[in-house]
């Protein structure tokens, strides 16, 4: 069907956003073994900050985004420092509950400041489209793919070559050994949250960009990105991007073809579909496509 290229293009664009979301997620998990249920709210706040800087304060978009990223990095740092540091050594689900409680507080704070109405982000791409062959793609889709790719490349270089990146990887592999070697593990935790905050800001921008609107329920999209993080492997940043693209394309293809080919599966099957995809992947590879197998030491 001639719809296929169009659906694929949109799937990849959505997948880029999912990948960005999953990336922030995975960075925190890899360093601290914590699943951050407040990640959706970090996305939300990042988008609202861009709105506040660009639409309310009039700062040009190209400047507003990096400033929002920096603010969200600080936000991530303060969450880690203020709340999570006290939870070191506690059972994981207690920490998970804290992130959920945080999510509630952050969402209420966002609505207290910006209200509940739908807002327009005012991004520069707007409704402009790019023609690739016989395909017309929204410019914003290209931008989100480019941003996901750029961020991933940046992280790759960071983790491979920079001191901080290597420190983070070491901490993820073996915390005690890292401490023994002199790596400031507490600082590594803080950095990972800062990176997650910054990535969330970017993901939030693309989530709220045209033709979408900015509104408080945006944070729930993060739950659609969970399958992306899992499919890729919870501790693999590359896996997060791959997983995101996979989930995005699956969702769009199911959206496009399932109503015609398998209507008995019901309306809006695409949401359940990404979770079913995740379950199938996990049955075959219990640690995701690129995740490292947990070795349990006796």
């Amino acid at each position: 069907m001639s719809d296929l290229p169009q659906l694929l293009a949109q799937g990849l664009a959505l997948g880029a956003v999912y990948g960005l979301t999953a990336l922030g997620f995975v960075i925190v998990y890899k360093a601290t073994a914590v699943i951050n249920f407040a990640h959706g709210e970090l996305l939300l706040l990042g988008a609202y900050l861009v709105y506040a800087l660009h639409v309310q304060a009039g700062i040009p978009f190209v400047a507003a985004v990096p400033v929002a990223m920096a603010c969200m990095a600080v936000g991530g740092w303060s969450i880690e420092r203020g709340v999570l540091r006290r939870m070191v050594g506690r059972p994981t689900f207690a920490v998970v509950m804290i992130t959920i409680g945080l999510a509630i507080v952050l969402r209420q704070a966002a609505t207290a400041i910006w209200g509940f109405d739908d807002l327009l982000l005012g991004d520069p791409w707007g409704a402009s489209q790019v023609t690739l062959g016989e395909l017309r793609v929204n410019a914003v889709s290209i931008a989100s793919l480019a941003a996901a790719g750029a961020l991933f490349a940046a992280f790759l270089i960071f983790f491979r070559s920079s001191k901080a990146g290597i420190a983070m990887r070491s901490t993820a592999i073996d915390q005690e050994a890292a401490l023994a070697v002199g790596i400031p593990v507490r600082a590594v935790y803080a950095w990972s949250w800062m990176l997650a905050g910054a990535t969330a800001a970017v993901a939030g921008v693309f989530l709220a960009a045209f033709p979408a609107t900015l509104h408080p329920a945006l944070g729930f999209v993060a739950f659609r990105a969970f399958p992306a993080a899992i499919v890729g492997g919870l501790d693999s940043p590359g896996g997060a991007i791959v997983g995101g693209l996979l989930v995005g394309v699956t969702e769009l293809l199911v959206q496009g073809y399932q109503p015609r080919l398998a209507p008995w599966l019901g309306d809006n099957f695409h949401v359940a579909a990404s979770y079913l995809l995740m379950i199938v992947v996990l049955v075959v590879r219990p640690y995701g496509l690129f995740g490292t197998r947990e070795v349990e030491r006796v």
Binding site: P91, T92, M97, I279, L282, V283, P286, E294
Partner: protein
């Protein structure tokens, strides 16, 4: 007090007895008196709070057995609650069965579905398992919205009151001719069910099953070496917790009279996890107190917050209204609680009891 120190047990029967100590028996007597007195004394608001608490406690006990005792993190509890509610609707409403049939049957249905989920727990660990159970909520939501014949689709369906023939437990006033309101009737109906759930769970926890769960939670490999059949007990944990959840869901549906798929979302699962953690993982009574906390505290915050100055009571005003404040306070309470007391209310209770028991040597 007799000459013997408290806690000294000389026979195995004493160890295993549910209400061995004199204090425990006194508590049971007190609760029995409260059961009769409370509906006559409290008004409908607090009665409905207690009814929701009792229903939630049944679900929380199930989740505690799975997550607190057996260490299997599950975010899918909301799905099983919904399953139970819709089962009650179909069995009690469409098929017209009495509550003695549809309530256990709903639980059984939950157990069977839990049996299907169990094998995943064998293959996946920790947070991967948690996310798969999260998937249950989304897949379940999809099924609830699309199986219109059974669930009524997005508009939901009616769930009948608990009745046996003409005896309607939600309205004992009209069926028995006694001056009892709806809330009072339902309270009298649901609290014995909670007691039953607690006793059953306590029995599981104190005996082989409970010990196997805890062994799996603490060190799975060691448990396996010692001879615990990990597969059987992991799946068993899912089966038991899903039974409890579905039974709680059936009661919830029956009390609310009408359910929609919106009610059984991730937020519901999260509320139950909160109950388990705030109450104290690994403690049955903790589940009950956790449920009470999660249901009661928002109402208490609402009573108290009008006294806070500078906060507007106007609904539509921008900024922080008293209503937003309630939510923020509640979120902060949960976070604060978890940071300050990771063992939950049960931990606090244990410390309190120890303090009193050891007095005046409580230091």
């Amino acid at each position: 007090m007799s000459g013997r120190p408290e806690g000294l047990r000389t026979r195995y029967a004493e160890e295993v007895a549910l209400f061995g100590r004199r204090a425990d028996r006194a508590w049971v007597a007190l609760l029995a008196v409260a059961y009769i007195a409370v509906p006559l004394v409290l008004d409908d608001l607090w009665l409905s709070v207690l009814i929701f608490t009792a229903i939630a406690a049944i679900g929380a006990i199930g989740l505690n057995l799975l997550t607190g005792f057996a260490g299997q993190v599950s975010l899918g509890h909301g799905f099983f609650i919904g399953l139970g509610a819709y089962a009650a609707g179909v069995l009690g409403g469409d098929l017209g069965l009495p509550v003695v049939v549809w309530l256990p049957a709903a639980g059984l249905l939950g157990a069977i579905v839990g049996l299907a989920i169990g094998p995943f727990a064998l293959r996946l660990r920790g947070l991967y398992l948690a996310i798969v159970t999260l998937g249950l909520v989304f897949v379940g939501d999809h099924v609830f919205r699309n199986a219109r014949l059974l669930t009524g689709g997005p508009q939901g369906r009616a769930i009948p009151s608990p009745r046996i023939g003409d005896l309607n437990f939600a309205d004992l006033g009209s069926t028995l001719g006694v001056p009892l309101g709806r809330e009072q009737s339902f309270f009298l109906f649901v609290v014995p069910l909670l007691a039953l759930a607690v006793v059953a769970a306590k029995n599981i926890a104190r005996t082989r099953g409970g010990r196997a769960f805890q062994a799996i939670r603490d060190r799975e490999i060691a448990a396996e070496i010692v001879g615990v059949d990990v597969a059987r007990y992991k799946i068993g944990a899912f089966v038991v917790s899903s039974f409890y959840a579905a039974a709680a869901g059936a009661l919830l549906g029956s009390y609310l009279r009408h359910v929609t798929p919106d009610r059984f979302d991730l937020l519901l699962s999260v509320q139950y996890v909160a109950m388990v953690i705030v109450g104290g993982a690994g403690s049955i009574y903790g589940s009950v107190s956790g449920a009470l906390f999660i249901v009661l505290v928002p109402r208490l915050v609402e009573q108290v917050s009008p006294l806070i100055p500078f906060v507007t009571r106007s609904a539509g005003a921008a900024g922080v209204t008293v209503f937003t404040l309630n939510q923020i306070v509640f979120g902060l309470l949960i976070v604060g609680f978890l940071v300050a007391e990771p063992l939950g209310l049960a931990g606090i209770w244990r410390r309190l009891r120890l303090y009193f028991r050891m007095w005046p040597f409580s230091y």
